[in-house]
């Protein structure tokens, strides 16, 4: 009897759950499977509350809900000067829904899965989320036509940066987001700096030009023994020795290729570079450095704050983020660092480094719950304004602020820039630096924007970086493999998730073992064999297919102009 009761109870409960779920989930699955290309959202009545050109953008004040990642170093967007100006100009009020930036992806995916859509998403969506909700579903609005009709400013930048257009174009040929575009002197990645004051002290007279000279320089640093536990070469973390950062700078010196991870081989075919000979030679070099005590021994476990602290204690000579050093760290009181130009070697005589992309990642999406898509598009377009919308407010504003209000050019040729805290803000500034306050209160550096300007800041750590990049980085760049622009179908993504996750884990494990010497370089061929056994060739096929599609699409796009 008792067992019967239990059984009946369980059945009752489970059926309640099944029916309960049934009824409620209908909300989430609005239309059953009408998927195909994303549809254009019908906008009949909203079109009346809209000005196609000029400001304000809407005839009657409108409110949109906007979800965005929130960072503690920024004030609430309601208070931010940049957004206040946009609101006054456009007549559109944003009802901000901040999400902790640390958990942005979890929250935004959940929101989409639950069907609760804000009008605007002002943050990034992963490619497969976009595929799911934009291409397969219709939660994200297809704005390809919208861009043509209502976003002249964005189109201006799209003409200048075809690689951005590549990134924006999805598998169905349409576009779903307003991109983040950047092209600045501060954008160099894979940067390696050396302290000139230490070079002098160690008796190194000129900047090393070859791998062997670089090696000798490091040895001289070690012999100089400036402080106990001195590390001649100290990137900020272990991954900078293997896949980016220092690796990005040094790998091209060991052969003809520049791309790490995914790249094109000498025949123009896609390859996984972590098993090629050039990479082997590079890793061999790094393991030699490590064995000779020239690399920070704790590089794989040290956390970033400790690393930066050690940098500031003058315990390293070659580093990847010298922007964290202060003039006070130098005896002369001046920032004596130089960004090192790419090296050459017996394997190659060409100095090269992979270029930086110009962005193209999503920074603004419109969902189907937005009742006035045209207005939203024009609001996005303000972030790209080529001409001033009002004095000082243009495409640079989300990044720099309002010209004349908190920044201006330092010279007529517009080669330098100076920043200051606007008047009357002293109590809000407290003890924040000018850069911190700008990000906190004036210019969020988020959302649809075109950070396109080639200048050197008048002061601050980025001044050094910009100057050095112009001299020693940008002259040597080679177009990088467009890995961030690649789009994959569902099946392709599955292959990648199934095979590649494990391959990537194995790669990271083995390569770090090679570097620290836990595994001798003689085992390299076994490592390559294992990766092949794990199915890398299938993954390469997938990448090749995706790359071929990308080439075809951009050729098609190019020919239509």
């Amino acid at each position: 009897m008792r067992k019967k009761i239990i059984a009946v109870l369980l059945i009752m409960v489970l059926s309640v759950s099944a029916f309960g779920g049934c009824g409620k989930s209908n909300d989430a699955t609005s239309e059953p499977g009408n998927k195909g290309k994303g549809k254009q959202a019908p906008q009949k009545e909203a079109a009346q509350n809209f000005n196609k050109t000029g400001y304000p953008i809407v005839k009657e004040k409108t409110t949109f809900t906007a979800m965005h990642p929130h960072s503690p170093s920024k004030a609430a967007f309601d208070e931010m000067i940049y957004y206040q100006k946009l609101e006054k100009l456009s007549g559109i009020h944003m009802d901000w829904q901040p999400v902790p930036a640390s958990d942005w992806e979890t929250k935004v995916n959940l929101t989409l899965a639950g069907g609760d859509l804000p009008d605007i998403i002002l943050g990034g969506l992963t490619n497969d989320a976009l595929y799911d909700y934009g291409i397969k579903g219709d939660f994200i609005v297809n704005i390809t036509d919208g861009i043509q009709k209502y976003m002249p400013n964005l189109q201006h930048w799209m003409k200048e940066y075809p690689d951005v257009v590549q990134s924006m174009t999805q598998l169905d040929g349409s576009m779903y987001f307003a991109p983040y575009i950047y092209d600045t002197a501060q954008a160099a990645a894979d940067t390696v700096y050396v302290r000139k004051d230490m070079m002098k002290k160690a008796g190194v007279e000129k900047m090393p030009a070859t791998v062997d000279e670089f090696h000798d320089m490091l040895k001289k640093f070690k012999d100089a023994n400036f402080t106990p536990d001195f590390s001649p070469l100290m990137p900020t973390k272990g991954v900078e020795l293997t896949t980016a950062g220092f690796a990005g700078w040094a790998y091209p010196a060991f052969g003809d290729l520049v791309d790490l991870g995914w790249g094109l081989d000498s025949d123009g075919k896609v390859e996984y570079t972590y098993i090629n000979d050039q990479y082997k030679q590079y890793i061999e070099f790094v393991s030699k450095l490590y064995a000779e005590g020239l690399i920070e021994p704790e590089i794989f476990t040290m956390d970033e704050p400790t690393n930066i602290a050690k940098m500031r204690e003058n315990k390293s000579a070659v580093m990847t983020f010298a922007t964290q050093l202060n003039p006070e760290n130098f005896e002369s009181g001046e920032l004596e660092v130089e960004m090192m130009p790419p090296l050459t070697s017996e394997y190659t005589s060409k100095q090269k480094i992979r270029s930086v992309s110009h962005g193209g990642s999503g920074s603004g999406y419109i969902t189907k719950s937005c009742k006035n898509v045209e207005a939203a598009l024009r609001w996005f377009d303000m972030g790209y304004a080529v001409d001033d919308m009002e004095p000082g407010l243009n495409h640079l504003s989300s990044w720099l602020g309002i010209r004349g209000y908190n920044w201006d050019y330092g010279d007529d040729k517009k080669e330098t820039i100076k920043y200051w805290n606007p008047e009357g803000m002293a109590d809000k500034v407290g003890n924040m630096t000018v850069d911190e306050f700008r990000v906190y209160y004036i210019a969020p550096n988020e959302g649809p924007r075109a950070a396109v300007a080639w200048f050197v800041p008048e002061s601050g750590p980025l001044k050094m970086k910009s100057e050095q990049s112009i001299k020693n980085y940008f002259p040597y760049t080679v177009d990088r493999f467009p890995d961030s622009a690649l789009k994959f179908t569902d099946e392709e993504n599955e292959t990648i998730a199934n095979q590649f996750t494990d391959i990537d884990t194995y790669f990271k494990q083995q390569v770090s073992k090679f570097i620290v010497g836990d595994e001798p370089m003689s085992k390299w061929d076994d490592y390559v064999k294992q990766i092949k056994k794990m199915g890398i060739d299938e993954v390469v096929k997938v990448y090749q297919a995706s790359y071929d599609r990308l080439q075809k699409d951009s050729r098609a796009a190019g020919s239509s102009k």
């Binding site: 008792r2 239990i6 930036a101 922007t323």
Partner: protein, 301 residues
């Protein structure tokens, strides 16, 4: 006080006991002192291991920043609300249920226990739960954090165990014979004898509320409703974020990100002190419920 006389064996035992406990105290205490010292030290010294038990490069910037950040005060206020109201709800729902389950005469007792324990292992997951909360109109309300965690099955089981093993049945029977209803027995006899359990439950549920952030992350959008831990987590996790950023070439933000990391390092330790201090202060008051002989006299009375 105790009437038991101490034998020499006893004295040795006591000394040994105290000795070992003191070692335990020290082992646990040192890292805690380190944290307090680190919270008033220059973060660069802390990262390079120069701060052990005493502060170096004394500064209270960490605390200043924590209190300047106005979301922290809002978080504090909200967490206090969620903890107090939430714990009351927890007790009101859990204790009677556990009591009922502890009575052998209850029909279906094991089945009901199974019914509840089953949910510890099988659940629908984040998405259907989110949809449910949304359909119940609980999203972004003050109630959602209180209601969605009304019962913790482990705590329920602990309560049931306590009721079964620590409340002598003679007492209850005496009360029933005297004509007390079950409810009256529960409220006037069982509960007063369960002070230790109440203390533990207030602590377990209370701290559960105090430390929680995940449900708040998922179900709340108003910054005015967020609990303290969510705010702190934002600050602390920022520095751990996206080393993937490096690889995708979006290094433009990397320099700025590292500068922002300074904020996180500064706050790391002071945040812990600020968020755990109230709890540590309250605890000794709860401890008196765990005193020995809480039941003394009840049998005779």
């Amino acid at each position: 006080m105790s009437v038991i006389k101490e034998s020499p064996g006893d004295r040795v035992f006591n000394l040994l006991n105290l000795f070992v406990l003191t070692i335990v105290l020290v082992i646990v205490l040192f890292p805690l002192i380190h944290i307090v010292a680190a919270s008033v030290s220059d973060p660069d010294y802390v990262s390079t291991g120069k701060v052990l038990l005493f502060p170096r490069g004394f500064n209270i910037e960490g605390y200043k920043k924590v209190f300047q950040y106005k979301d922290i005060m809002i978080g504090y206020r909200n967490t206090i609300f969620y903890t107090i109201v939430g714990t009351l709800v927890n007790l009101a729902v859990t204790l009677p249920a556990a009591y009922a389950l502890s009575k052998k005469r209850l029909m279906g007792r094991n089945g009901l226990m199974f019914f509840m324990a089953f949910t510890m292992y099988f659940s629908g997951g984040m998405i259907p739960t989110y949809i449910l909360i949304r359909d119940l109109n609980l999203l972004n309300t003050y109630a959602v954090l209180v209601v969605s965690g009304a019962v913790n099955t482990t705590n329920l089981i602990i309560c049931r165990t306590f009721f079964t093993s620590s409340i002598p049945s003679e007492l209850e029977e005496a009360a029933m014979i005297d004509g007390c209803s079950t409810t009256r027995t529960f409220l006037t006899i069982v509960l007063p004898l369960s002070k230790a359990l109440l203390g533990v439950m207030v602590l377990y549920y209370g701290i559960g509320h105090w430390n929680s952030y995940f449900n708040a992350l998922i179900y709340l959008t108003d910054r005015s409703k967020v609990p303290l831990q969510l705010v702190l987590r934002e600050i602390l996790i920022e520095q751990e974020m996206a080393s993937q950023m490096l690889e995708s070439g979006a290094a433009v933000s990397d320099d700025l990100r590292k500068m922002q990391m300074k904020l996180a390092s500064l706050i790391k330790y002071s945040a812990i002190v600020v968020s755990s201090l109230p709890v540590l202060i309250v605890y000794p008051f709860l401890q008196k419920y765990f005193e020995k002989g809480v039941m003394l006299g009840s049998l005779k009375g």
